[in-house]
Amino acid sequence: MLVVNVAACGSDDDKKDGPESFKGQTLTLWAMDGSTPEQWTKDVKAAFEKKTGAKLKLEVQQWNGIQQKITTALSESDPPDVIEVGNTQTPAYAATGGLADLSDLKKGLGKDWTPSLNKSAVYDGKQYAAPWFAVNRTVIYNKKIWAEAGIKGIPKTRQEFFDALEKIEKKTDAEPIYMPGQNWYFLDGLIIGQDADLVKKKGGKWVSNLADPKVGKAMEIYKKYASYSKAPKNKDEATPQQAEVFAKGRTGAFIGLSWEAATAIEANKKLEKDIGYFTIPGETADKPEGVFLGGSNLAVAAGSEKQELAKEFLKIALSDKFEGAMAKESGVIPNKTALQSNLKGNPAAEAAAPAVENGGLTPLIPEWGAVENPPNPIKTYMTSVLNGKSHDTAAKAVEDEMNKRLAQKQ
C-alpha cells in the first residue's frame, strides 16, 4: 500500500492548448454541500465544456469527515482534480505537498484578489489555491425592539453600538444582545481588529501569543458586549443555537452569519419583517470591526494528471462573470472587492461586505487546527475572563495546553 509512488508527471509535451486537446477528458470537481448554487453550476459547466471540449463532473461532498476524505483522496494515484478546501485548512494541505502550485494563475486571474481573502491560499510564499468565496458575521438586530428603545439610525462606531445596547437595557425588558461566553470566532474578529496575533515564532517553533496585551484588549471589548447579555458564560453560540434564542423575539441583536438569520425566521415567521443587518462597527466610523472571514478556496491536486485542464476550469469558474454570478445567487462575499456590487439587494451580504477588507482568519499555519479541537483552550480562556479572572492569569492558565497542541507532529 505504501509502495505506490505518485509523482505529478503530466506529459505536457504532446498536449497543445485549445479546445481540441482536452476532448474526451473529464475533470472531477469536489465541492462541499451547499457551495455550488444551481444556476451557477449549470452555467459554469456549460461554459467549461464549450471552451475546453472536456466534461465536468461535480461530486458534492458532505462536511462530516471531509478532512480525512481529502487526505485520502490526495494520496491516491487518481485524485479529484479540483478540490474545495476550507480556507483555514488550506495551509495544512499545502504543507503536505498534496496541492499543486498555482503561482502563475495569481499573476493573471488573481491580480485583484482581495488580499485579506488571498492570504489563506499562500503558504511559504507560494500560491497553493485560489480564493473562492467567504462569509463573515454582521450584527443581526430586531428593529421592533430598537424602535421600542427609541434608537434612531444605525450605530457607526463601537461606542454608539454600546450606547444603543444601554438604551435597550434601560427602556425595554428585552435582552440587548445575545452573547454567550464562547463565541470564539467573534473574539477572533476582535483580535484581528486589534491587529494582534494568536501565535508567535520562538526558537523556530510556533508558540502561543495569547498573553499579548492586544489580545487582552480584544477580550475586554468582548466582555463589554457580554455584559449586555444574560447568555451562559460557558457555552458557545451553537448551544443553544443563538438564532433560536433570537427567534423568540425578546433579544435586541446577535452577532451571526446570514444563514442564522434564516434559521431565526424559520423558527418564527413573524420576525421576518423586523430583522435588520448592519456591519459590526469598529473603534472609529471609517473602519469597521475586524471579522473572521471563513470561506473556501479552490485547489488543484498535485497528483492530478490534468493540471492544465484544471487551470482552465479555475479561469472560467473564478472569472469576474461567474464569480459575480455566484455572489449574486448565494449572497457570499466574492474574491474581488470590485465584484461586491453583485451583493446589491441582499441586505445581509451588503452589511457583511464592508468588513471584508479588514477581515482575517485564524493563524495560517498547519499546526493551528489542533488548537481548535474541543475543548478549545481559547474558549476556556474566554469563560475564565468573563468569570472575573484577569487576562494575564486566564491566558497563562491555558498557554501550556496551546503550546502542547502547537507542537504536535505534522
Binding site: L2, V4, T71, S75, T96, T239, P375, Q408, K409
Partner: protein, 335 residues
C-alpha cells in the same frame, strides 16, 4: 473493528461424548482423510479471520510504530519512529483520564446489565407461556436492532426540543425538563449512552440465564422446600450454583462488549461535550482519524487491547478454573 461474536463459547464437550461411527472399520486411506478433513473445514473460517482480523491487526500494529500524519499519508512515505507513539501516549495525562473513565464506564454498565439481565431471566422462568413468548420476542427484537438504528432512535427519544422523553417528563410535571439538553453534560450524555447499551445488552444475558434455569431439575426445589428453604434460600442454594458458570461467561463477554463499544458512544454525541464522554476506542478514533495522527491513534488502539487483556486476565482465570471444575465434577458424576 473486530467482528462481534455474541455467542457464548461452546461448552467443552468431552471427546467420549462424540458419536462413534458404528459402521465398518475405516481403512488406512480414509483415516488420513479423516485427519485432514477438520482442518479443511476450518480453512474458510480461518482464512476470513486472517484477512479481516489478522491483516488489519498486523497493519495497525505496524502503524503504531510510525509517524504517520497527513503529509506522510499523501506523500506515501514511511517514517518509523520506534516507541515514540507509545511513550507519548503513556506520558499523556489525558490518556490515563480516558482509561480510568473507560474502566468505570465498563464496570457500571456491566453490573447494571448483569443484574437487570438476571432479574429478567428469572422472570422469564416464572412467567406463563404466553407472557414468556411476548417478553422473549421483545427481548430478541431489542437485541436484533442494528446499532446505528438503535442509536438514532435514542437520539430522537432524547432530542432537546421534540424528544418524547422531554415531552413525557414535562407532561408528568417536571416542567424544567421540557427543553433539557441531554447531551449537554458529561453525566447526562453517559446516562443516555448507558441506557442504550443496557437495553441492547440485557436480552443476551436474560435469554442465556433463562436457558440456564431450564436445566435445573424441579426435584431440587422440592427437596429444598421440604427442608424448609424459603424463596431466597432456594435461590441461593439451588438456582445460583447452577447459574454461576453462565453468569461468569456472560459477565466476561459483557466486559469485552462494553469496553470496546464504539458506535453507541460515538454516535450519540461524538464523545462530547468537550470530549468528556470519550472512552478508549473513541479516544483512539478521535486522536487517530479525527486529528489525522494515524500512528498515535494506532498506538492508542493497541494499548486499548492490552488494557482490556490486563483487565480480563484475572477474570479469564476464574472462567477457565470454573470450566475445569465443571469438567471434573461432570467426570465424577459420570463415573
Amino acid at each position: 473493528m473486530s467482528v462481534q461474536t455474541r455467542e457464548a463459547p461452546p461448552r467443552k464437550r468431552r471427546p467420549a461424548a462424540a458419536p462413534r461411527a458404528a459402521g465398518p472399520q475405516p481403512g488406512e486411506g480414509r483415516r488420513a482423510d479423516k485427519a485432514t478433513l477438520p482442518y479443511l473445514l476450518l480453512l474458510p473460517a480461518l482464512a476470513l479471520t486472517a484477512v479481516f482480523l489478522g491483516y488489519p491487526l498486523v497493519t495497525n500494529g505496524m502503524l503504531s510504530f510510525q509517524n504517520l500524519n497527513m503529509t506522510q499519508l499523501i506523500q506515501h512515505v514511511t517514517e518509523w519512529n520506534g516507541f515514540a507513539n507509545y511513550t507519548d501516549t503513556l506520558s499523556n495525562e489525558e490518556f490515563w483520564r480516558v482509561t480510568l473513565r473507560s474502566v468505570i464506564f465498563t464496570a457500571v454498565n456491566v453490573v447494571v446489565i448483569i443484574v437487570v439481565g438476571t432479574l429478567i431471566g428469572l422472570l422469564l422462568a416464572r412467567l406463563g407461556p404466553r407472557m414468556r413468548l411476548l417478553l422473549s420476542v421483545a427481548l430478541v427484537l431489542a437485541w436484533a436492532m442494528p446499532i446505528i438504528a438503535a442509536t438514532t432512535v435514542y437520539q430522537w427519544l432524547f432530542a432537546q426540543r421534540f424528544g418524547v422523553v422531554n415531552w413525557v417528563l414535562a407532561e408528568l410535571g417536571f416542567e424544567s425538563m421540557a427543553d433539557y439538553n441531554w447531551t449537554g453534560t458529561q453525566l447526562s450524555t453517559f446516562f443516555v449512552i448507558s441506557l442504550l447499551l443496557v437495553w441492547t445488552s440485557v436480552p443476551f444475558v436474560a435469554i442465556n440465564l433463562y436457558a440456564a434455569t431450564t436445566t435445573i431439575a424441579k426435584e431440587l426445589y422440592e427437596a429444598a422446600a421440604l427442608d424448609g428453604a424459603g424463596a431466597w434460600q432456594s435461590f441461593k442454594c439451588v438456582t445460583l450454583p447452577f447459574l454461576k458458570p453462565f453468569l461468569l461467561v456472560a459477565t466476561f463477554l459483557e466486559i469485552i462488549w462494553i469496553f470496546k463499544a464504539f458506535p453507541h458512544v460515538f454516535a450519540i454525541n461524538e464523545g462530547g461535550p468537550n470530549r468528556l464522554t470519550e472512552t478508549l476506542p473513541v479516544y483512539a478514533f478521535v486522536e487517530g482519524v479525527g486529528g489525522q495522527h494515524y500512528g498515535t491513534g494506532a498506538a492508542i488502539s493497541v494499548l486499548t487491547i492490552l488494557i482490556l487483556l490486563a483487565l480480563m486476565a484475572y477474570y479469564l482465570r476464574i472462567v477457565l478454573r470454573q470450566e475445569d471444575a465443571d469438567e471434573t465434577e461432570n467426570d465424577g458424576e459420570m463415573a
